[in-house]
Symmetry: C2
Subunit: 451 residues, 2 copies
């Protein structure tokens, strides 16, 4: 038995491995990686350059090599495979499932991709060609063609034969899908039921007819929701005529979930491109600039707006002191509100109760928060600055800003969602910029009335 | 075949269902929910109150009832089960897997929980009592006791017998775990291999000895990383002596992932408690106030700080106009930087390259962004306000703020992570508040030097 802690990537091992690479010491490399889980080897290779990684992979068994290349993240793999020729790639990709093969072919330059395709076994080639037609964000782009298909007039023994045939490829199966003569999906039988059923029973007698399926064009995010909702370890994919064309397994879904979470986090933090810390300086800069520019534009508008109140500011300089307080609070309240709504919109159990009722609740929460904050700030201000009128102006506008920012933070994602945009955009700099301007407006309107 | 779209919760159906509930029309309810997937019934019940939901559930088959109650989210279930007596709960929980049963017993008041426990079948009761010892955030709290355990001297036929025995409970299996006489985990056999192996072969001949396992006290987030890294559909759990005590399946992991994403989003948006839009007004208020107060405190400090420059502000009122611009940009840059670091820290492929090298890169990106923003703002300011000196002050401090905020945004999560805090805290109001103060300081220092 091997627990996950057994292979730990220590600095000593890394250095020793580097030495072996420098000396092209195949024997050390082969021995030290024997019995190491391919996922651990993948992590190790992130430490070395492409040439060194290729040297290591060439020493390993072909199936391990294929699994490691499959496991690399897309960006790394794209760069790494540049040093491989098509004739080296075909035998590696031949050992993969159709979905992984299609992902890799998608990443290669068109010419290389064509050459690799030509070198694949006929069956895999046809499967991959079929998969390449689909966009990567729909069920068709996630599915694999490998699956166990049984006719409902087969016996359990025939199913087992089919499983044995398919098991020659690398694939894991948990379910046998049942189809009719036209390949239309009828239902499924779990491997567990196959194991415990009498070998001469008919598939028709043991299959579950109620099976949740998705269509080739179902968006990946919807596939995630469906698999989570119905607690599925794999889901069959059908085409428009109801024919079974592939299956999606839960590990594909984990990747989609991680990507979604990353994307939402980036939207919330004002980064426009899918970017990682180890991307180039230029890509990192480009991903950040757009929202920063919008923020700067908001700041310039704020400056113009405050300019309108130059007379009041010149008269009572202390008015300027509280602009940061008002704006920061407005920003924080807005982000909180929009983030809760985004979460509600994302959770599948969420049902649109009357909009009026929800806004009323948001209003109550806002009024409570506003009351607490305004009272505390009034007390603190009066004690520190001893100016009753100024303290009153600050607290009245703070109160109003909290209420307005709550409503804006709540409504913006709902509106974005209604018009088909990702509502998570509204939990980022967008809502902050709006609330900065809103805060200033409320503040100086209050100044105008109360000063 | 049933695709997921077949049951759509329309307003008409909801109203008709409400009518049936009002008239206690069991027949309509039974008929309309026949063949509907339990997950869809769960979604429907979120529309009705506890009494109505219980009335509906009482009409359904016991196993469907158990599955729906299992699927409810924890908060809803806690409230819902208040109207059930212990004698009603025991038979329902008897139909569940040990992990789900333990989760529900954990949510019940102690007295009820004891009574329900007493009413369970002896085997399940012992399993649940064992599970209740573990914290919910470790592998022991996630695992189920139901698993198929085979000795390595068994034949495949004996395995199949064991699977048949276990299949009487509701559980899904994909893997048979292999143990020695002391119950120590030796390896595993996939159901697929059981299906295609000769019935008289020994388990010892077909099992995989290299199996990744976790320990009862492994944190749930680590279990997620391990299952993702090694692409596992289930992972065995062993105790300190290496004995097999349970297994965690991938659907349990999906829930942990969703919770993690929600928690991070809340940290990023300054919400301190795990709260949802449909929680009480008071709970919603309480979850928001702490960070708002910290923001307000930051605002008060800003006010005091600006007070130190009252003379300069009185002399050149326009200086105040650019405080929002400086602060908003500092805040946005800080959030972007910290969010990228949080993402790097979360991704398993991430390796700590030299800190110096990373900071150098962050610095380059910051310098580039700072250069673009400062240049654009200088041009715009000079055109709009026509004041060379003021435009220069604003751009110089904008430049400095972008660079400083990048460094603070990068270092804060790294420091938090080093000391064992969740670095996502640093993508929220925390970093904004720090950067607001930082921005003001830089701005007025620049004013002091250049005015």
């Amino acid at each position: 038995m091997k627990t996950f802690v057994e292979f730990e990537l220590t600095k000593e091992f890394r250095d020793r491995f580097q030495e072996a690479l420098d000396q092209r010491d195949s024997q050390f490399i082969r021995q030290s990686l024997e019995d190491v889980n391919p996922a651990d080897i993948t992590a190790l290779l992130y430490e070395f350059n492409s040439e060194e990684s290729k040297f290591t992979l060439d020493i390993l068994a072909p199936d391990i090599r294929a699994q490691i290349i499959k496991d690399l993240d897309s960006e790394t793999r794209k760069n790494f495979l540049k040093i491989y020729g098509p004739s080296e790639l075909s035998p590696i990709i031949n050992l993969m499932d159709s979905d992984d093969a299609a992902d890799i072919l998608n990443e290669l330059p068109v010419k290389t991709s064509e050459e690799v395709l030509a070198g694949l076994d006929a069956e895999l080639r046809n499967q991959v060609i079929d998969l390449l037609r689909y966009d990567e964000n729909v069920a068709g782009g996630l599915m694999a063609k490998e699956l166990i298909k049984a006719r409902n007039n087969w016996t359990v023994v025939q199913c087992v034969e089919e499983i044995r045939k398919q098991a020659e490829t690398v694939t894991k199966f948990y379910t046998v899908f049942v189809v009719d003569e036209q390949d239309k999906l009828l239902g499924k039988v779990s491997l567990q039921d196959i194991v415990i059923s009498d070998a001469h029973k008919l598939v028709a007698d043991i299959y579950e007819p109620d099976v949740v399926s998705v269509e080739t064009y179902t968006p990946d995010t919807e596939v995630v929701e469906i698999m989570k909702k119905y607690d599925l370890e794999s889901v069959p994919v059908v085409n428009v005529t109801g024919q079974l064309v592939g299956r999606i397994t839960i590990d594909d879904i984990l990747d989609v979930m991680t990507e979604q979470a990353d994307e939402d986090r980036q939207l919330m933090s004002g980064i426009t491109e899918d970017v990682e810390e180890d991307d180039t300086i230029w890509k990192n800069t480009r991903a950040r600039l757009p929202w920063l520019l919008i923020g700067v534009l908001g700041g310039m508008l704020s400056a113009r707006f405050m300019g309108l109140f130059e007379a009041e500011l010149a008269q009572v300089t202390a008015l300027a002191f509280f602009v940061p307080l008002i704006q920061a609070t407005g920003g924080n309240v807005g982000i909180q509100s929009s983030s809760l709504i985004v979460q509600s919109l994302a959770s599948p159990g969420f049902v649109l109760e009357g909009l009026g009722q929800r806004l009323l609740k948001v209003l109550f929460v806002a009024l409570l928060n506003a009351f607490f904050l305004a009272t505390i700030v009034f007390g603190a201000n009066y004690m520190v600055f001893g100016n009753y009128n100024l303290s009153l102006i600050v607290s009245v506008s703070l109160f109003s800003v909290v209420v307005f920012a709550s409503l804006v933070g709540t409504l913006t994602p709902l509106i974005l969602d209604r018009f088909g945009f990702n509502p998570a955009v509204a939990s980022g700099p967008f809502i902050t910029t709006i609330n900065d301007l809103l805060g200033l407006t409320v503040y100086f309107l209050t100044v105008n009335v109360l000063l």
